[in-house]
């Protein structure tokens, strides 16, 4: 047999039909649904009288719109249009018989955190969701990617997607990370190196010692941002850590089925002589704690650097950099560690898991946020929140002056009431620093949870290594 990459193996196991021109129907094992990108798809089914083909493989959870403050079970505490979207999801889940976690359920949270937590996401699966950060699930060695609403409808009706195969890219992170450097710094540094379009047309497999050393949570952080690098999906081959994470989860296989699953999962790796269309290698030792300075996730620099000037760049990027600098209100040459912030947001599907909260709490323990600064922690799910309370992390955050919120997307995209005001500057652990992402005119600097915690203490972008 010819050697295969991990992507090749998962792809081959899911092709339900292949046309002469290579267009395939890819079978979908798990379909995750949230309230913002699904109403029109369900409406389409109703209009055409179609059913959901495999409701037992479909999981819905409201996350984008929901307030993260107490009392949110009551729709009158939501804006009218948000309440309509959440109510539509409630109805659609009930009418079509799909698994559902409403806000009143402790298991509710960000869809990409709930999936793995509940054992819906397993190695070797195909996982899709009407959300670009579906890439997160690639951390399990599952082929996972975002789709549009028309495709949501297509999957609901047929449990397949019309797809052509992507190319294979290997991103290798060799060696060990230095202290203070995290999964977030890896993934941002890769985007800094490849650009936001560098992965277009590819599925990326992340490998190398530094990736193997990461926990499952760190791996999810890395894969989460594969989409920011333009890739269709990011993958990490499953190993003992993956199996350990999955074992015993509510929807993971048990008994003999577990054994059978393990037999297959252990074959899920790229063969030694597999052929790659592109290979990128970064040295783990060379990665520093980074922050973004601009309005594209590729605008990444080590915290020790200074704000660049537009003419440091070439081609179309010169204009884009100038526009970013104007929008961000930054002067070239200013050390990044002099940039003052007024908001800190810890959460999102990139960094809203228990380990992220532990990393932030470790920096904040016994300290206080800077006076006047607004800081919030939004756990990724109700279960993460409960665990953080049990471990005493919630108390550390509260004592440091942070708001301790309920689970949801919150200020990652500011569809709920958590928004930046024009000109406000935020240290955020989320994944997008686009213009207006966290509120019209708001300015976002992306970074790791530990770096965001450090920034909360000083009120400036801060090198977390100075606090360790």
């Amino acid at each position: 047999m010819s050697p295969k990459t991990l992507y090749d193996k998962i792809w081959d196991a899911h092709v339900a039909h292949e046309a002469d021109d290579g267009t395939c129907l890819l079978y979908i094992d798990r379909h995750l649904v949230h309230e913002v990108t699904s109403p029109q798809a369900f409406e389409g089914l109703r209009m055409t009288g179609r059913k959901v083909r495999a409701p037992e493989k479909t999981i819905a959870v409201p996350d984008h719109n929901v307030p993260t403050t107490p009392g949110r079970e009551d729709p009158s505490n939501m804006t009218e249009d948000s309440a309509i979207q959440v109510a539509a999801l409630d109805t659609n889940a009930k009418d079509f018989g799909i698994h559902y976690y409403p806000v009143s359920d402790i298991r509710q949270g960000i869809v990409h955190i709930v999936g793995p937590e509940q054992g819906w996401t397993l190695p070797g699966m195909t996982v899709v969701c009407g959300d670009s950060h579906t890439a997160t699930h690639g951390a399990f060695g599952a082929l996972a990617h975002g789709i549009g609403t028309s495709e949501v409808e297509h999957v609901l009706a047929t449990q397949t997607l019309i797809q052509k195969k992507s190319k294979n890219m290997k991103v290798e992170i060799t060696g060990k990370l230095r202290p203070g450097v995290t999964a977030k710094d890896i993934t941002l540094s890769v985007i800094g190196a490849t650009g936001t379009a560098g992965g277009t047309g590819y599925v990326i497999e992340y490998c190398g010692e530094a990736i193997r050393d990461l926990s499952m949570e760190g791996r999810m952080t890395v894969c989460n941002m594969a989409i920011e690098g333009g890739a269709r999906a990011g993958l990490i081959a499953p190993d003992e850590k993956t199996f350990e994470y999955c074992k015993g989860r509510p929807h993971a296989p048990k008994g003999a089925q577990w054994e059978a699953a393990m037999d297959w999962w252990k074959t899920l790796f790229s063969d030694d002589d597999a052929v790659w269309d592109e290979i990128i290698t970064l040295k783990g030792e060379d990665i520093a704690p980074v922050v973004t300075w601009g309005t594209s996730p590729e605008d990444v620099l080590p915290i020790t650097a200074a704000v660049p000037a537009a003419d440091d760049f070439e081609g179309g990027k010169i204009g884009a950099a100038q526009r970013s600098l104007d929008y961000m209100g930054l002067t070239p040459g200013t050390p990044l560690s002099d940039v003052e912030i007024d908001t800190v947001f810890i959460g999102s599907c990139t960094n809203g898991r228990i380990e992220d909260l532990r990393a932030a709490a470790a920096i904040l323990k016994g300290k206080k946020k800077k006076d006047g600064l607004r800081a919030m922690v939004v756990p990724g799910s109700g279960l993460v929140r409960a665990q953080a309370e049990e471990e005493g992390l919630a108390d550390i955050f509260k004592e440091a002056g942070f708001e301790w919120r309920l689970a949801g997307c919150s200020m990652c995209l500011a569809m709920n009431p958590d928004q930046l005001q024009p000109g406000e500057r935020c240290a955020a652990t989320s994944n997008r620093n686009f213009e207006g992402r966290q509120g019209r005119g708001g300015r976002t600097h992306l970074m790791s949870p530990a770096m965001a915690a450090a920034a909360a203490i000083t009120g400036k972008l801060t090198d977390v290594r100075e606090m360790m």
């Binding site: 196991a13 092709v15 339900a16 039909h17 021109d21 267009t23 129907l25 079978y27 913002v36 990108t37 109403p39 029109q40 409406e43 083909r53 493989k57 984008h64 249009d81 948000s82 309509i84 979207q85 539509a88 397993l122 699966m125 009407g130 959300d131 670009s132 789709i147 549009g148 609403t149 028309s150 495709e151 297509h154 009706a157 047929t158 449990q159 397949t160 019309i162 936001t196 379009a197 277009t200 333009g230 993971a252 296989p253 089925q257 059978a260 699953a261 297959w264 594209s296 179309g316 990027k317 204009g319 884009a320 995209l413 500011a414 569809m415 997008r432 686009f434 213009e435 207006g436 019209r440």
Partner: protein, 201 residues
């Protein structure tokens, strides 16, 4: 879905790279459960000031481009969120075709589901068409999907590549779901085999 065949129209120049879907349709407009009506909010934060008044400098606010049906833009158009509200808003405004050096993957796919043709051309050719678009409303480009060509207002012809299946669906206004359902037998037999091979799924 609307069929796409040929289009002769005004092209609006937008020489920006990495135009993301948050720019195309900001999140406050995603709270709809409909596909229609998003055109007035296309590029909302670039198009209107804080008081909701039009920003005169923005290309689609200029008289010459209010009726634009083609958009010429920079590299990596449509990056970011998977929101199909982006192509819905573009279509609702009246734009049926985009010309750029490259597109983000999900956005590119979403266009075809909505009768929008995203054309990828090399940067030098996009630069030439950008100049052409800057001539305003008297300069009309011709898009011929069947021939896979763009003709500039002064008659220069550029050929583009396109996946044959996507072209077929767009030209005939075909519904993907209907097409896939014709292959139900293949899906059934895949499902049966897969449930034996991987019963835990």
């Amino acid at each position: 879905m609307d069929k796409f065949n040929t289009l002769t129209g005004i092209a609006a120049p937008m020489p920006l790279i990495n135009v993301d879907t948050d720019m195309i349709i900001p999140k406050q407009f995603l709270k709809t459960i409909k596909r229609s009506g998003l055109g007035v909010n296309l590029f909302d934060e670039m198009r209107y000031d804080d008081d909701g008044k039009e920003i005169p400098d923005f290309v689609l606010n200029k008289d010459a481009y209010r009726e634009a049906e083609i958009l010429v833009a920079g590299d990596n158009f449509g990056c970011g969120s998977s929101r199909e509200h982006a192509p819905w808003a573009i279509k609702d405004f009246g734009i049926r075709c985009i010309i750029a050096p490259s597109y983000a993957d999900i956005f590119y796919n979403n266009c075809f589901k909505n009768g929008i043709l995203p054309i990828a051309l090399p940067q030098e050719q996009v630069d030439l068409l950008m100049k052409d678009a800057e001539k305003g409303s008297n300069a009309r480009m011709i898009i011929d999907l069947d021939a896979q060509t763009v003709t500039s207002s002064d008659g220069e012809v550029f050929s583009f590549d396109l996946d044959p299946f996507k072209k077929h669906c767009l030209m005939n206004g075909l519904d993907d779901i209907g097409l896939t359902m014709e292959k139900a037998a293949a899906i059934d037999s895949f499902e049966t085999a897969a449930s034996q091979a991987r019963p835990w799924v």
